[in-house]
Structure formats: structure tokens, C-alpha cells
Symmetry: C2
Subunit: 462 residues, 2 copies
């Protein structure tokens, strides 16, 4: 039997109205179902029938300020994925949650619970929250700086990692005869005392099937890359060109290696938003049809959030006024800013052209083509050190996913790039990631995890 | 057609190993399934088949310190009920969550999401958390006092109520033609600035099917009763005698009336833990069998938590040393303390007798009898101003619920006391509660809700 060929990992990124900003207006979309759990249950079952690795869910703890023109809200991801896990058996669920606007003890409980109730299918997309308005929903005077948020995030991940390890695997006994329900020698307070958090522990429930959720990360700033190299097991990233994606891929894998981790255990997954037609012309026409549905007031607002410049008084069909853009300084979506800057410098677009470029998937890679062409592009990135897989971002739902599942997935399979069926039961199995050892089960050697503030003294049972 | 007879409301209170502290050791229990979501899905479907109003879930953000001898942990309730809502259609779900150890914005999002994904079946058991050790999981130096917790709880409920109203019902439009997704004139910041919370809002998602979850409350202290009279739509309470239950029922209904609310819209639901046999002797033997399985080390520990006295050096079969009990002062479970004090004064038990009295359901009403006898007791309380319904607390699961569903429910129906089928779709429908008006939709008159800190000025859109 030949050695198994390296396989793609594919997530379906659920955006309620579809990823194109005008996707909800497309005739085959279903904006009236954005709050209907059955709609998402259908999608989850379809993605599972296509043997996708996971569904991916974005989140932010503040309402978008441009909800007037676009489908920009969603259910709360942890409760949402619990209701989807209940009607599926194998597909994973990656939920975004903020380290800036959650208490680690509460978030640890939520994710442990989801990992239990899904039988080990939970992933956590770790974000520090880019939207500064969130601060005002949590009694903060202002949104913490990028550096502060990442510093807090590191400590946060340290705390929840210890909480998820606070019950050793063998702690739950439930032996009727002896009357021992739990072996309390195997349940440990974590006694964390750090700069941002003081958490005693242990967690309220036993270690979960995967040990802990798969750690996913999506920031591509320098802080983000550094964070990802230490913690992430999968990275969701936005690139517009093979070259940029290769640079990012090589940089991340090198950073991961440099901290002593296995680069194969960090999956790099760019986003791709595919417009699929039976001919290239048909695909382009479809893309154009979506762009016709965009609303400049909305698009300009979105652009302003990324580049921090108001273009509403400019001619949309005139050249983009590059002099308005401030390069230096703090910004929320810093990695996305550089994607936009790169488009401007490479393509020299009019304002409208830039708006249409970004309307597809908020800076992610938009491709219009035949199923063969989309498959070729995916394979090109996969075979040339740019991706281990992709987050698929359909421009509209459900049809935008259906056509990918029906037309592209079979081609990927024919080329031996994607599974015909699941091999394992957990998200870690799908991603080929090991189940982490429990730090408390290994008292005699140092943790391989570089988590701050951990000392064996603090691990002592008190 | 005759006027419809007043109907019981029945909740099934899910305690993973059953409510009797040794229930998990009983031969027909399933302690190996306490983390198996399918186990709870089976229970939810059974309770729905019996047309129960809701399942009820306790919670606390700290691990119980006596997990060695008893099944004292559980999944996180909001994710848990999401996975149960997905496989049921009508039954409600009441999840406990703390106002002391949550951020109102996060909790508002979680419950709104559950109410959406369940189609309007969410209830919130509002607690301030009695277990002082929770403080150490959240960076607090100490657990806030009872009075401080209730003060924070009032403000917290005020905040989340406004968040749940922050989208008017008609705010979501999703009109493809005009391109208007949401009517932002109907989405309001709440601009709350209080003693404990500063929250700008609006919430991240539209108003939920029930407007907000049903507000449930369980404290019976003076602070608890005062809080309940202002906010609660259902009250879960513990009483050992008809007289005490009547006193509580009358007091609550009078308090509710005095603040201008309709007493019929506040359901008083005592707990009952039934041991059911085909003869009274058989039921008593079953109860004895459970008590034989108790472990004094655990039972004494539980008792110490309530009465704050260490009895481990006393003869279990000697009289209860009443002089050890301190009556005055602050305590976590103050309402439960008075239940225990009352048992001691009425029954003058030995220590072991008291432990067995409390082993059944932590101070709730334990009844052993035939289905007829249990039905008689329920009807006696229901007909005599002591209860609008009950939280059913099976001593073990699943059999302890099955026998209630098969033997007692049909008798209640025969007597015209309990529904043959659901009339409505939401938990509010089952409880006969109105869907609350949205405070933001009524700018020209004062809210009937007595929520603190609300001024029309703060409601202004900014």
C-alpha cells in the first residue's frame, strides 16, 4: 500500500447571509432564515455529508455598526454549535471567542462542555477582538491596545489550558461498590496568579474527549504570528496571492519549529470565496451580479473600518487616493489592513474597483471560475507551500456551498487530495493532531507547552 | 364549554446522578453516563412525551468540594440545553446562571441565542451564587455579601432586560429589493451606567421569540423574596410541610401584588422528590435502600455546608446537638438553613435521621408512597394555596422519572390537573405567561417593570 498522500483540510465558514456583503440580496439566498436553527442544521449535515473537517463561526461581543445594509449579526457561537453538534456525528465545530471580553473560568466551562457534548468535536478560534466598540459593553473606558490584548490572551490561554487539564483523564471513577465517585487526588486546583487573572480552579467538569478544544487563531500581525506559533493548531488567514500566502506559510512553519513544536501540527488554512460557473464567463457574470447588488454606503463604511479614511466625498470611479492612508500606528484589523494596502499597490484600482474587490469576503481570496479552475487554484496553493487546506467562504448560502460540494469536492477527491470518509471521531482526528498530554499527569518533567506563569510550585495541590 | 380547570406546571429537575445523594450508587442508575449527551436527550424526549413544561438545570461556577463521594458536577447549562433543544420541539429549558460571576453582555447573548435556537423555550434561573469558593475562580478576594449580591443582581437583571429589548420586534427587515437589512431606527443602545455595570449596547442579535427568557428565581430569604416579587415569573422553592409552603406562597403572591404585578404570572413551584412503590411499604423500603447507600462522611460534609457546624466527632445515633447552631449572621444557603432548622425543631431527630432526611434532595420535600399517595400530596398542595406546580426531582435517573411519568402523570390527568398535550410552542405559553412588551417600543408611557436605573433619558438613541 502506498504511503497516504497528504490531505486537504476543509472548513465551511458559516456567515449567516453568505460571505459576499450583498449575498443576502441574491435571489437564491435565504436572509429570512438567518435566525432559523434548522437552516444551519441543514448546512451542518451537508458539510458532514461532504466529509468536511469543521464548520467555522466568527464572533464579536458588539453589534456591527453597519447592520442597516448587511447581514452582520449571528447567534452566539457556543450555544449555536451545541445545537448543531446534537444533529451531527463527525464534523467539527470551531467557535470564535474573545480573550479580552470573557472570564477564563466561564469560557473554559463553555468549551469543555461543548467538547463533551459533541464527543470531541470542538475548536476554539482564539481572538483578542478587533472592534473597539466592544469595550463599551463591558465597562471598559477604552479598548485595550493590540499589545495589551495579546499579552492578556497569552495568559488567558495559559489559564484555560491548565483548567482543561485540572482533572486528569482517570479522575472520574463512579464506582458504585466503593462509593468513590471521583478520585480527588487526580483533580487539581491550578492556583493561577498572573497579571490579568487569578483563578484557583479546578474546573467544574472532567477533562473532555479531546483534552481541550483545538486551538485556532486568525491574526496575521507580528503579535498574531508570534501568538499563533506558540499556541495555534490551525490558523485561519487571508491572502490574495500565492506569493503572499507562501511567505506567510513559510514564516509560520519556521516560527512553530523555532519554539520546538511540530510544524505538521499547525494547519495553515487561508480563506477562499468561490464563485462557480459552468464556464469561466458564467462564473464572472455571477460575481458581477453580486457586485451589482452592493451598496456603496455600506462598502465605503466597511473600507473605512479597515483603512481609517473617509472616501464618501470622492468619485467612486476615480483613482483611489493613496495619500489618505496612514501607514503607521495602532489599528484593530491590522492584518486585514495590509491585505488591502497590498491590493491598492499591486492593482492601482478605482475606489469602486477596490470596493468590489473587498465585497466578496472582507479581504479574503475571491475566485471566480469553473469547478476545474477552482480545484486547480486550491491544488496550486496546497502543493506549493501556501496552504494545508482552506476555509471555504461561500458568497451566499445554501446554494453557494451546494455547488462547491457537488462540483469541486469530487474533483479534489479524484486528484487524491481530500478524504472519501472520516477516519476518526474527533476534530483532532480530522486535522491529524495529537490529543495533548495532561500537564498534571506528568509531574516529573517539564511541559512542552510554553505557557507563561507556570511553575511546578503553583501546580501543587493545596 | 366549562371554564378550563387550573393546571399544574411540572418541571423535571435534572441532576446528573439523580437527586438522592447516593442515587448514583443505586443499581438502576447510570453514573457512567453523566457526561453522555444522549442520556440527557433521552430524558428530554421522555419529559416532552409526558408534556412537561420544562427541564430545570442547576449550576455553580466552582467545583463542589465533596465530589469524592457524589455526582456533583454537570455540563455547562447553556450549551447543554442547546444540545437538548435541538432534539425536542416543545418542552422548555430552564438554565441556572449567576449574576455575580457573569458579565451581563455575555449572558444576555447566550440566553438570547438559546431562545432563538429553541424557538422560544428558554428560562433563566437567576442566582447570585451561594458557594463562596466561586470568588477564587474570578479574581475576587472574597465572595460578596448576600446584600451586595442581590443589589448587583437587581442591576444585572435591569441591564439584560434592556439588552433583550434593544432590538424592537420589527427591527429585522431583510428586504432584498430596498437593500435594507435592519431598521436601525428600531435598534437602540441602552447606555446603562450603574453602580456595578456600564453597558452601552445594543445586543448583537434581534429580540428573541419570547422577548426574553422566562425569569425564574430560587432564593427564599427576605432579599430573595423581595427580588422574586419584582422579577420572577416562576419560583423554585423548598418546603417540608404544607403549612410552610402555604406561608411562602401567600407571602410571595402578596408581595407580587403589592408591586403592581399579576400574581397569576408568578408560578410557585416547590421541589418534590418522590420514592414510588406499588405499596406504601415498598416505597418506604426503596427510600430505606437509598439511605443505606449514603456515606456519613459525605452527608456530614453537606450538612456542615448548610448549618456551619462540624458534627463528625458526635455519635450519629445520638440527638442532634442544637447548641452548635449559630442562628444569626451571613450564610450562603440561608433559605435552606431555615428548612433544616425547622426539621430539627419539629422532629427532634438523631444526627443520622437528619442526614437521611436531607440525603433525598438537599432539603427539598421527599415523599415515599404509592402513585395514588404521591398524586394526593401534589393535589393537596396545589388545591390549598401551596403550589402552582412542582419541580420533580427523581431520586435516581432514568427510572426514577419513568415511574413518575408512567404512574403519577396519568392520575394527575384523570383528575384534570395536568395537560394531555401542549397548547402553545413556547415556555411562556406552557406557563401561561404573557410575552413582555418591549420597553423601547413604548416611548410615551412608563415601563410597568420596576427595573432600577431606567430613565427615559438613558433610553434615548445616541
Amino acid at each position: 500500500m502506498p504511503a497516504e498522500k497528504r490531505q486537504l483540510n476543509l472548513n465551511l465558514f458559516i456567515y449567516p447571509g453568505g460571505h459576499h456583503e450583498a449575498g443576502w440580496r441574491y435571489k437564491d439566498s435565504a436572509p429570512e432564515r438567518v435566525l432559523d436553527i434548522a437552516y444551519y442544521q441543514e448546512l451542518a449535515k451537508k458539510a458532514e455529508a461532504s466529509k468536511f473537517d469543521a464548520l467555522f463561526f466568527a464572533d464579536g461581543p458588539a453589534l456591527a455598526d453597519n447592520i442597516r445594509y448587511a447581514s452582520r449579526f449571528r447567534l452566539e457561537p457556543l450555544t449555536w454549535i451545541s445545537a448543531l453538534a446534537a444533529v451531527t456525528e463527525r464534523i467539527g465545530f470551531i467557535a470564535t471567542a474573545s480573550t479580552t471580553y470573557n472570564e477564563p473560568y466561564n469560557l473554559a466551562r463553555l468549551f469543555a462542555s461543548v467538547d463533551h457534548l459533541s464527543g470531541g468535536r470542538a475548536g476554539w478560534n482564539i481572538v483578542t477582538t478587533g472592534d473597539a466598540s466592544a469595550a463599551l459593553n463591558f465597562g471598559f473606558d477604552r479598548h485595550p491596545t493590540h499589545a495589551d490584548r495579546y499579552e492578556r490572551a497569552s495568559e488567558f490561554v495559559d489559564v484555560v489550558t491548565k483548567l482543561w487539564d485540572s482533572w486528569e483523564d482517570a479522575a472520574l471513577i463512579a464506582d458504585r461498590q466503593s462509593g468513590i465517585f471521583a478520585d480527588t487526588d487526580k483533580i487539581h486546583p491550578i492556583n493561577h496568579i498572573g497579571k490579568y487573572h487569578r483563578v484557583k480552579g479546578p474546573l467544574t467538569l472532567p477533562r473532555s474527549p479531546q483534552g481541550r478544544p483545538v486551538y485556532v487563531q486568525a491574526g496575521s500581525s507580528q503579535d498574531g504570528r508570534s501568538f499563533a506559533s506558540r499556541y495555534a493548531e490551525a490558523i485561519f488567514t487571508a491572502h490574495q496571492t500565492l506569493g503572499n500566502a507562501q511567505e506567510f506559510y513559510a514564516d509560520i512553519k519556521a516560527r512553530v519549529k523555532s519554539v520546538g513544536r511540530n510544524p505538521d501540527h499547525v494547519k495553515v488554512l487561508p480563506g477562499i470565496s468561490p464563485f462557480i460557473g459552468s464556464t469561466e464567463a458564467e462564473a464572472r457574470a455571477l460575481h458581477d451580479e453580486f457586485n451589482e447588488l452592493t451598496q456603496p454606503e455600506y462598502s465605503l463604511h466597511q473600507l473605512r473600518r479597515i483603512v481609517d479614511a473617509d472616501l464618501s466625498s470622492y468619485d467612486l470611479d476615480g483613482p483611489f487616493p493613496r495619500e489618505l492612508i496612514r501607514i503607521e500606528g495602532e489599528r484593530g484589523a491590522s492584518s486585514r489592513f495590509h491585505v488591502v494596502l497590498d491590493i491598492i499597490e499591486r492593482e492601482n484600482p478605482t475606489i469602486r474597483q477596490l470596493l468590489h474587490r473587498l465585497a466578496g469576503a472582507r479581504g479574503h481570496w475571491v475566485q471566480a471560475g469553473t469547478p476545474e479552475q477552482i480545484t486547480d487554484k486550491i491544488q496550486e496553493w496546497f502543493d506549493n507551500g501556501a496552504a494545508d487546506g482552506f476555509n471555504i467562504m461561500p458568497p451566499y448560502l445554501q446554494g453557494g456551498f451546494d455547488i462547491f460540494a457537488e462540483e469541486v469536492v469530487p474533483l479534489l477527491r479524484k486528484r487524491g487530495l481530500f478524504r472519501h470518509d472520516y477516519d476518526g471521531a474527533t476534530l483532532r482526528d480530522h486535522f491529524g493532531l495529537p490529543r495533548p498530554e495532561n500537564t498534571f499527569s506528568r509531574p516529573h518533567r517539564l511541559s512542552h507547552l510554553r505557557i507563561g506563569h507556570s511553575t511546578s510550585k503553583r501546580y501543587a495541590n493545596t
